[in-house]
Symmetry: C2
């Protein structure tokens, strides 16, 4: 039995094809999300990678911010909170807390026995989200995917005192004009994101294992700053970018075999 | 007796020279604030406008965000909250609530008998401040001082659903790409500011007369959107830009004649 999960985020569309609810057969990630051709392209790409057709999928389940735009394409829609909890539990069976930093939001989930039991979310303020990093990368004239490696070269602590994206951007501009090293500024930016996200995590408490998912989890600077802030090791892997889609494919398998 | 009040804001420096604590002799406004030559230039400009010298000032009092940078120049520093309350009561004797939207913050003050008795302030988030308007003016490629007149030409309601400056900026960009009229977008922006500021005002309650001060009070679009939101007429005048400096000059007169 093959099932397909698709996660339509604000900035990327991700798909997973799962065999028998156990084995990841193929995955795809297209860097554009809701309101674009991204979701369709992600589906086409994952089917091609698997060498399969839509008809061979027993069940297609959509999740994420833009899931409702897939009415015709998916058999069902489901909240990304449930899917993220399910995906993280599959990848890390001992996961009890999931921190998901997406392109426009941050979610902290508590998991008991593979199910989400509590959560905190920020989707109103760009601070602490992927968008914050996008804004800073633009000002620093570096690629957002290079931030992690650049921040790792930092030798001096540079504090960014404003939490607000707009005010922090001005601080970064004035640091640049004072000749501060970019790597040090980037390290300060990672700590700003970590501080903001830690604030959210403290509201529900952090229980080990702590797993980090979403695109920003690929930035090792943010991950290590967050480990420092929370005083707790963080589990992650490149696969966690597909975490929502994976959860969707798992729920799809449940629906297909019920 | 001549006294000088200076208000060093985040984006502008303003001065007032007062005669006998009653009569405004001269004023100046320089469009750069704390950390620049703005404060000194504003002092030079107001003295020149009055045809007077620093020595003829019985007392110089500094207020505002950057007041502490004037250690050598002023006889005393004082919180801008007190100065704004005093200035507004001078201009509008029946003022009981003052809404001051500055370049980087928003303050709502309650006044009883000319003295500040309660306040609410936002200086952490750019939403609802002058900075929000600066960001939007840049995206729309119009001058921030033209926003009021342009918004007044709006014929259709365009809602900006995000409060966050960063997310609202994206909404504006996508409205522009859909060909929405700039004037309608600007009107939506004014309502966004008004909604945010009204939220702050409701926390302490609005008691008439309601006075609006600060640079943004010169934008009639924001003023009328805020009147709508609060269901209450707003008193303002071009002089309210100098409100903090005026309050400082009034306190200076008190100190000089004690
Ligand atoms: S603090 Fe800054 S980033 Fe957060 S909502 Fe306000 S404007 Fe947006």
């Amino acid at each position: 039995v093959y099932t397909l999960g698709i996660d339509v985020g604000s900035t990327a569309s991700k798909c997973i094809i799962l065999k028998d609810g156990k084995e990841i057969v193929a995955k795809s990630l297209i860097d554009v999300g809701a309101g674009t051709s991204g979701p369709q392209r992600a589906i086409d790409a994952v089917l091609e990678a698997a060498g399969m057709t839509r008809d061979q999928m027993a069940y297609v389940l959509a999740t994420g911010y833009g899931r409702n735009s897939l009415m015709g394409l998916a058999d069902k829609q489901m909240s990304e909170l449930s899917c993220h909890a399910r995906g993280a539990s599959f990848l890390f069976p001992e996961a009890h807390t999931v921190i998901d930093i997406g392109g426009q939001d941050v979610k902290v989930l508590r998991i008991e026995n593979g199910t989400m039991t509590n959560f905190q979310m920020n989707d109103k303020c760009a601070a602490g989200t992927g968008r914050f990093l996008d804004v800073m990368a633009r000002v620093l004239e570096v690629r957002v995917e290079d931030l992690g490696d650049l921040g790792a070269q930092s030798k001096k602590h540079v504090g960014i005192s404003s939490t607000c994206t707009v005010f922090a951007e001005s601080e970064v501009i004035s640091q640049l004009s004072m000749g501060t090293d970019k790597c040090d500024i980037i390290n300060g930016i990672h700590h700003s994101v970590a501080g903001r996200v830690a604030g959210l995590a403290h509201r529900i408490g952090v229980v080990k294992d702590l797993v980090m998912t979403g695109g920003v989890a690929q930035n090792r600077g943010v991950v290590s700053a967050l480990e420092e802030e929370l005083g707790c090791p963080i589990l992650t892997s490149p696969l966690t970018q597909y975490n929502g889609a994976l959860g969707a494919a798992l729920f799809a398998w449940q629906a297909a075999t019920r």
